[in-house]
Structure formats: structure tokens, C-alpha cells
């Protein structure tokens, strides 16, 4: 009877195709509607709404009866099918007679498969019977897709039980299907082969997960052994995780895997290659694979030349495939905010002209190089008030003046003029140094350690002082000019101070721009705000209940972002105990979070090997960058805000153009995880530090120089990466077995590096 089932399904499918419902734009993500009846608490259906396209010609008329049937009907049909399959014909007759079901109801293969996916509410599907049919047809093969095992496990529902049996594909045939596809793709023209080979990995994983989910353990193991070796080398880690996953129970609790199962793997294939594939799969009798492809893959078709293997390799590697083109189409304001003009006091400090919009100035201000010369708004820069930013206080203005003074003494770096590197080595840390940060003026250095302490050192000869106790403060002369020095306690001045408070290793540290606060985030799930005036903890921000991997203050202070194991990044303000924005979308932990220089965007790097750019104002993801083959550990924006550099465990540093959403360059050279990246103050050089104990300097100006982004590139996302890593590499500097954890360019362009000595 399984043949009958298959042929019936095939007929229905062909009817659907001929009915013109399935058209060229095969983004017919066959979606099932969200379950409201709670039968299957399909957490899985976040990406799924009923596909509108099959709303036309519902050629599958015979399904109408089933579609219109209520939940019980579905279950009955499922039971009938089951009995029939097991050749219990007499029982079938009796049941049918008693239930009063029409003869032909059995023939709709869709019926029993519908149970798991549209259980019951299929009837309420806006009358889109054909739609539900198609969904059933597609879902039938992947009957386990009502993924969230949590609720599915708890409900010993008939339909759930039957879903395993009514699964279309015979588990033993999976190997056959896959081999067939492999043979086909190997026989295809060279130019198409690279593109179609992209299908292998997601298909393999989904088929394997199908088998595991439906408890076909031995078939799953055999399937895995046979084909896991064929996959691309950069998927090795994922495959290893999969190999240990042999039972359905193993999948429970592994959120990343569940997300993978329910989200669509995106592939970019040219139209010609796609046609080839489609034609081949639809010709065959058992288009099991076609079903899986429609169910789990999102194929972003573009018109144009098929891509070469190297182009594909550059962009692939992430857990969710590549990025859809429309994911990268939103406008991003990557320009910098206008700096307020501050008069450098020639004599005494008078009023300072803050608003530069044509305000008549009495004194002639010494214009700083930061302020833009033109009064027009840069079209690529966000408006000043796009997001609320704290106003400048007097002390901030003083800081800015200092900054300007220092920048005049800045060394111009370039190919001919490389910076000196000063390395701060943490001794006796016993591999416990987990985070480092410098203040912007390089006066303080903070280290976060695995023993949950945070230590702050003074880099300059000036010692660290805290404010006196209240009783002592009573005694000082409050009228004196140097009251700010008098409030500091000389007795406890020291080179370094230790901050206790966390209950787990400290994974991220960030100084505030005004040097009053220090943030630290830790494995205990909290982000702590420390005061650098009293060296005590002020606030503990609780929100992530899982380890927080990284945190950073905004360049203007007040806001900070944190990202952790719960796969979201959160935007906080220091005066709110709850986050202001939640950036959810990654499939795995968020390992690195950075603000854009204009504070309007946040970039997050994740263990799912993608980088996402988020808009602070709306919380939307505006860019997705794929291409890394390992979890991303460091991100750096260029000072002009246009470009992003990222480093991951695969040792590569990738450069991205934010405006266009494209990869610009690939810097190969490091042999181990890149943990630190920093652009020089003018954006001329990029410094990268890695676990392989080296610091490398790259010519960023040259890498960004010859960018031709024509319309074609922007439209299709094709990139032609030159293999010029060697030309861009300006220098490699080795340390004695000290991995580089942090890099920082001083205001005068001296490079500071930090790491802990690993004997």
C-alpha cells in the first residue's frame, strides 16, 4: 500500500503543478499555519504562514472533504490509513461504516499526514483547501516537522503517533534518494555543479534529523556514516555534533538544532542551475527530496552567471546558509554624527558654540578636524536626534578638548610608516585572563578574570584613587579650587584595584567614554556597572539568565549592549534596570557585540557564524553577513563608519562594506582564532591579534580603495574577491607564547596589545 500512497501523492502533486500554482518563483516556502489549537505547540512555525500562492485553482478537489473535516475527522482518517496499511481490512470496513466516512476519503494521502501539521485547524484554513493540501503533501515527507519536541512528547495523541507511520519516505530509501541526487549533480555541467553542490549539506542534515526525529536510529546511523564524509570540510564541527545525536531525546533542549530544523537554510542559486535541479527532481517518481527542499530550503534565485566554487566558498559556512538578498537591502545610516564644535579656549573658557548651524560666533573658534566643514547633513549619516543621546557635560567638553589636542600630535600611519607596538603582558594569570579593555585615552587598563574578579590598573604613573569616605568629605574645604583633587583619598592610592562581585568568570569588559564607569559581564548572567570613583559596584543588570559573552558601552556613553548564551543581544541604558531593546534572530550564542561609531547601530557576531547589524531605533536586523566558518569572536568598525572587520575561529579576517552589504576582502594569514581587531585612528591600518601569538598589520586603506560596486554586484551579491592577502599584510609580530586578547590604538596611533603569558 505504500506504493499506492506514493502514487496518489504524486498525482496530487502533479495536479497542483499543472494547476499553475507552483510557479517560477519557487520561494513557495510551503508553510503550515501556526497552531492555535495547541495540538502541536509548534514553536517551529515562526517562519511559516500559509503560502498564499496555492490559493488559485484548487485542483485537488478530492481533498476538500478531508480539508473541511474537523479535527476528529483527521484523526479518524489517520487511523483508517494506519489500519489499511497493516492490512486489517475488516477493521477498516467496520470503522468506516461506523464513522460514516465516504469511500474516497481514504485516497487522499494528504489526510493522515495532515494530522501532525495542520491538526484540526486545517478546516479553518481560510478555506484554502488546496493550500492545506499542498502543505500536507510537502509536509508529509517531513512528518516530524512540528518540531518542538517538548509538547509533542507530552501528547500521546493519535495523530502524533501516526505521524511516524504515515511518513511518506521509507527510511531505508533515504540513502537511495541521496545517492541519486549525488549522481545527478556529479553528472551536471561544471558551471552548475558548484552551485548545486550547495544543496548537499542542508539536505544531508535535514534528512538525518528526520530519521532521528522519527526514531529510525539505525538507518540514521547508516545514513550518516555513508555520506558525512562527502560534506565540505568547514562543516566538520557541525557534523561532529550531529554524530553524537542519535536519539530524539537528544534533540530536546538543544535550541540551536531545533532552530536549524525550523528555520530555512538559504541558498543562492542562479536561475539556470535551479531549473536543472527542479526538472530533475520533479521528473522522478519519488520526489522525496523535492519535498524536503521545499520544506527546509529557501532558494534565492538570481539571474546571471552561476557562481564559481571559490565565490560560493567565500560566502558559505554559516548555520543558516547565506543571507537572502532582501535581508541586506535596508538603508543603513553608516555615516558619523556631527561632532559639536567646541572652541579650544585660547584664553579662558567662555561659552562654547555647540550648535554649528550658522550661529554667529563672537570669538573665532579654532576649528577641530573632527567637525565637518560643510553644514549640510551627510545623506549617509543619521540625524542627530534619531536616537536620544546624552548631552555633553562640562567634563565631556574638557575631554573633547583634550582629544583634539592629542589628535594633532597623531602619527600618520601607512604602508611606509608602521606603528610601534607596546605589549602589556599579564603575568601569573594562569590562563585566567578572559577580557581586557583600555580607556580611550589609554590611561587605565582593566582585566576580567576567570576567578570572577575585575582588576583595574593605571597605565600612567598617576595612581588610582578613590573618593574619600563621607566623614572625611565633611572635613575638606569645599570652596577651594582643587576640590576635585581633595575629594580623592591619598591614603588608599594604589597602582591597581580589585573589584569583587561577580560569581563567575568575567567574559567582557568595557570602560565608559567618560572614564567614570566600568562594565563587566560574566558567566553568572549579570552585567555589572562599577564606579571608577569609588571602586564599588553600583548596579547588577539581570536579564540574560545564561552566560553573557560580551558587553560594550556606546561611544557616547549611557547605552550599552550585551550578548550572551541565550542567543539575543540586549541594549540597556544605565538608568533602566530592564533592557530597552532585544535583538533576537541569531541561531546560536551571541559572542561579540559592538556599537557603530554613530551609536545608531549594533553589530553582533555569533556562534552560528553570521554577523548581524541591528538598528537601535527599531530593533530590526538590517544586515546579515555570512562567510565565516567558525564562531566570530571580534568585530571592529572603521573610524569612518563605512566598513566592518570581523575575526573568527577560522583564522580569517573578513572586511565588509556596510552600505552595500557585501564582503570586500578576505585576509588570510592567521593560523588560529583571531581574538582582537582594531582599526588605526584614521582607518589606514587594521591590526589583528590572534591565539597564534602574533599581531598582524594589514593595509586597510588599500583594501577599501579599489572597490567597484556596480549594480550587478549589488543586485546579486556576487563578489569577486582578489586573493591579495599577502599584499595587504604589512607585518607580522610575534610574541613569546602570549596570545593576543586585546588591541588598542592610542590617540597618537601607538598600538597597545594585551595578553596573558601562557608558559
Amino acid at each position: 500500500s505504500s506504493d499506492d500512497i506514493m502514487s496518489t501523492k504524486f498525482i496530487l502533486k502533479m495536479a497542483a503543478v499543472q494547476g499553475g500554482m507552483v510557479d517560477e518563483k519557487e520561494e513557495v516556502d510551503i508553510k503550515t499555519e501556526p497552531q492555535s489549537d495547541g495540538l502541536m505547540n509548534t514553536n517551529a512555525t515562526d517562519g511559516r504562514q500559509l503560502s498564499p500562492s496555492p490559493s488559485s485553482s484548487s485542483s485537488a478537489g478530492s481533498s476538500k472533504s478531508a480539508a473541511g473535516a474537523p479535527e476528529d475527522q483527521q484523526t479518524l482518517l489517520a487511523v483508517l490509513q494506519f489500519l489499511r496499511k497493516n492490512k486489517l481490512t475488516e477493521s477498516v470496513e467496520i470503522l468506516r461504516r461506523e464513522a460514516g466516512l465516504p469511500e474516497d476519503a481514504l485516497d487522499t494521502k494528504g489526510a493522515d499526514c495532515s494530522a501532525p501539521s495542520s491538526g484540526g485547524t486545517a478546516g479553518g484554513v481560510d478555506g484554502l483547501d488546496a493550500g492545506s493540501l499542498l502543505s500536507r503533501v510537502a509536509v508529509s515527507s517531513s512528518a516530524g516537522t512540528p518540531a518542538p519536541t517538548k509538547v509533542a512528547d507530552d501528547q500521546p495523541d493519535v495523530s502524533v503517533v501516526l505521524s511516524a507511520y504515515s511518513q511518506q519516505g521509507d527510511p531505508a530509501l533515504y540513502k537511495v534518494y541521496y545517492s541519486d541526487l549525488k549522481k545527478f549533480i556529479e553528472s551536471v555541467l561544471d558551471c552548475h555543479r558548484a552551485e548545486l553542490s550547495q544543496v548537499f549539506y542542508p539536505l544531508f542534515v535535514h534528512m538525518y534529523l528526520e530519521l532521528v526525529y522519527n526514531n529510525h536510529e539505525s538507518e540514521a546511523k547508516a545514513f550518516f556514516e555513508k555520506f558525512s564524509g562527502d560534506q565540505e570540510c568547514y562543516y566538520e564541527d557541525d557534523l561532529r555534533v550531529l554524530s553524537s545525536l542519535t536519539k530524539k531525546e537528544h534533540m530536546r533542549g538543544n535550541e540551536t538544532l531545533l532552530d536549524f530544523r525550523t528555520s530555512k537554510f538559504v541558498l543562492r542559486i542562479s536561475r539556470d542551475s535551479y531549473q536543472l535541479l527542479k526538472r530533475h527532481l520533479q521528473e522522478r517518481q519519488n520526489n522525496q527530496i523535492w519535498n524536503i527542499i521545499q520544506e527546509h530550503l529557501y532558494i534565492d534565485i538570481f539571474d546571471g552567471m552561476p557562481r564559481s566554487k571559490s565565490q560560493i566558498d567565500a560566502m558559505s559556512g554559516s548555520l543558516a546558509g547565506e543571507a537572502k538578498r532582501e535581508a541586506n537591502k535596508a538603508k543603513v545610516y553608516y555615516g558619523l554624527l556631527k561632532e559639536p564644535e567646541i572652541e579650544v579656549p585660547l584664553d579662558d573658557e567662555d561659552e562654547e558654540a555647540e550648535n554649528e548651524e550658522g550661529k554667529p560666533k563672537k570669538k573665532k573658534p579654532k576649528k577641530d578636524s573632527m567637525g565637518s566643514k560643510s553644514k549640510k547633513q551627510d545623506p549617509n549619516a543619521p540625524l542627530q536626534n534619531r536616537i536620544p543621546l546624552p548631552e555633553l557635560k562640562d567634563s565631556d567638553k574638557l575631554d573633547k578638548i583634550m582629544y583634539m589636542k592629542e589628535s594633532t600630535k597623531r602619527i600618520r600611519l601607512g604602508r611606509e610608516n608602521l606603528p610601534s607596538i607596546c605589549f602589556y603582558t599579564f603575568l601569573n594569570a594562569y590562563q585566567g585572563l578572559t577580557a581586557v579593555d583600555f580607556t580611550d585615552d589609554s590611561s587605565l587598563i582593566a582585566g576580567g578574570f576567570a576567578d570572577s574578579t575585575v582588576r583595574v590598573w593605571s597605565v600612567t604613573p598617576k595612581k588610582l584613587r578613590k573618593v574619600k569616605s563621607a566623614a572625611d568629605l565633611n572635613l575638606i574645604d569645599k570652596e577651594s579650587d582643587d576640590v576635585l583633587e581633595r575629594i580623592m583619598d591619598e591614603k588608599t592610592a594604589s597602582e591597581s584595584k580589585i573589584l569583587y562581585g561577580h560569581s563567575g568568570p568575567v567574559y567582557g569588559i568595557s570602560f565608559s567614554p567618560d572614564r567614570n564607569y566600568l562594565l563587566s559581564c560574566s558567566e553568572d548572567g549579570t552585567v555589572r556597572l562599577w564606579s571608577l570613583l569609588t571602586f564599588t559596584c553600583l548596579v547588577g543588570y539581570k536579564g540574560h539568565n545564561y552566560p553573557v559573552w560580551d558587553t560594550q558601552f556606546s561611544p557616547y556613553g549611557y547605552y550599552f549592549v550585551s550578548g550572551g548564551h541565550d542567543r539575543v543581544a540586549r541594549l540597556w541604558a544605565t538608568d533602566h534596570y530592564q533592557p530597552l531593546r532585544i535583538f533576537a534572530g541569531h541561531l546560536a550564542d551571541v559572542t561579540c557585540t559592538r556599537f557603530h561609531p554613530n551609536s545608531n547601530y549594533v553589530v553582533t557576531g555569533s556562534s552560528d557564524r553570521t554577523i548581524r547589524l541591528w538598528d537601535v531605533l527599531t530593533g530590526n536586523c538590517v544586515r546579515i553577513f555570512t562567510g565565516h566558518k567558525g564562531p566570530i569572536h571580534t568585530l571592529a568598525f572603521s573610524p569612518n563608519g563605512k566598513f566592518l572587520a570581523s575575526g573568527a575561529t577560522d583564522g580569517r579576517v573578513l572586511l565588509w562594506d556596510i552600505g552595500h552589504g557585501l564582503m570586500v576582502s578576505e585576509l588570510k594569514g592567521h593560523t588560529d582564532t583571531v581574538y582582537a581587531l582594531r582599526f588605526s585612528r584614521d582607518g589606514e591600518l587594521l591590526a589583528s591579534g590572534s591565539m597564534d601569538n602574533t599581531v598582524r598589520l594589514w593595509d586597510a586603506a588599500k583594501a577599501f580603495d579599489d572597490l567597484e560596486t556596480d549594480d550587478f554586484t549589488a543586485a546579486t551579491g556576487h563578489i569577486h574577491l582578489q586573493d591579495n592577502s599577502q599584499e595587504l599584510l604589512l607585518g607580522t609580530y610575534m610574541s613569546k607564547s602570549t596570545p593576543v586578547v586585546h588591541l588598542h590604538f592610542t590617540r597618537r596611533n601607538l598600538l597597545l596589545a594585551a595578553g596573558s603569558y601562557a608558559a
Binding site: D46, P388, A470, L473, V483, Y558, V568
Partner: protein, 242 residues
Amino acid sequence: MSSPKTLPKDAQVMIQILKDMGITEYEPRVINQMLEFTYRYVTTIIEDAKIYATHAKKSTVDADDIKLAIQCRMDQSFTSPPPRDFLLEVARQKNQTPLPLIKPYCGPRLPPDRYCLTAPNYRLKSIQKKVSSAGRISVPRLSVGAVSSRPSTPTIGTPSAAKAGTPVSLTGQRFTVQIPPSSQTTVSKTTTPFTPTVSNVLINPSLIGSKNILITTNMVSQSAAADSLKRKHEDDDDYDAL
């Protein structure tokens, strides 16, 4: 390090597991740690399963008991982060609210006191009750719109540090004192810090003398509750500069 031949079987199995998971470099103590975890976990599960079996009046522990035990432990100790659609929904709601405007000139921008770690974490108890004869003596606040904890020093709000503890310009106004029980006071624990304040007042004659200011004690005896040492501004949700 003993050679693999002499290692106990469990350790050899653990080494193999680590190898299968692709972990090639690890300290030798990792094996011990992993084995300890394994023993502890399995023991806990089996004990739980035994309890469930006896509860169900079964003579032997069977697979269902084990499954139940594992499930309960998973929800307890090994929780996993929330599922994606839940996060997306929460994010959608959170991201809809516009970003709050920033109040200008606020001093350190911190959440309301209850969410900060700046409250005192101890209470003083007096050994004797002294009658408060001198009436209410008030000393102006020493901390200005700032985080100030009794035991530690107050931070200085940024706007004007010079204001710290300046009673001068504020004659005629009454302020509640936040006289920290500094080291000079007795170590007595009382809800009525009357004794300490008296001594404090004596130490700061400059305050009393030339400025015509009333000094009151922070009479917290009324609120016998544990949070007696809360600052008077506890009703405010935000810090306000004085």
C-alpha cells in the same frame, strides 16, 4: 601521567569520548572532572528514579522512571535558553516602545535605588536608648544626587562636585542627615542611631558654628523595619540633584 594501559576503564572511556567530540588538547585534570560529573549525574538520576519507582509502588526501577528522572532534572538544572519564536515575540514587543528620552543634568544615571547595589547592607543597634533632648538637628545631605551608601564613600555627582556637603548656601532649609556611622561611632547596633549622630555633630563644629542651621538626627526609630537606614528620598524614583 599514567599510561593508558594502567588507567581505569572509565578514564579510558572518557578519553575516547573527548576524542570523538573533537577535543584534542586538554589538561589531565579534565578527565577527572568529567568523570566526577558523570558519576554525580548518573547517581542523582538513578536515585531520583528509585524514588519515583517506589512512589509508583514498583519493585524495580524501569526505563520510564529513568526517563522521568531525566526530564525533571533537565528542567531543573540543565535548563536551555528560551525557544526562538518566544524570543522573537518578546523582542517584537520590547522593540515597539520608543527609546526613552534622556533627562538632562541628572548626575549619575542609575536605576531606582531598589535595583542598585548601593543600599547599606547592615544595620546599627544601639546599646542604650538615649532620649533625644536637643530636638531635631539636621545636617544637610552630604551626598548630592549621587549614589551614596552608608558604609562606603559617596560618589560625587558630576555636575558640580563642589556642592558635596555644602550646607552654606542652603540656610533656612531643612535636610535630613545621612550621617554615616563612620568608624568613630560605637559599634552598637540600633535602630535609633542617636548616639552616633551626637558624636558626629561634635566632630564638625564648623558646620554648626557660623551657619545658622538646624541639625536633626535621622530619626529612624519610627520605622522599626529592617530598611530603616534607607535614605529619605526613597520615594523618588530617580535621583534628583538637590
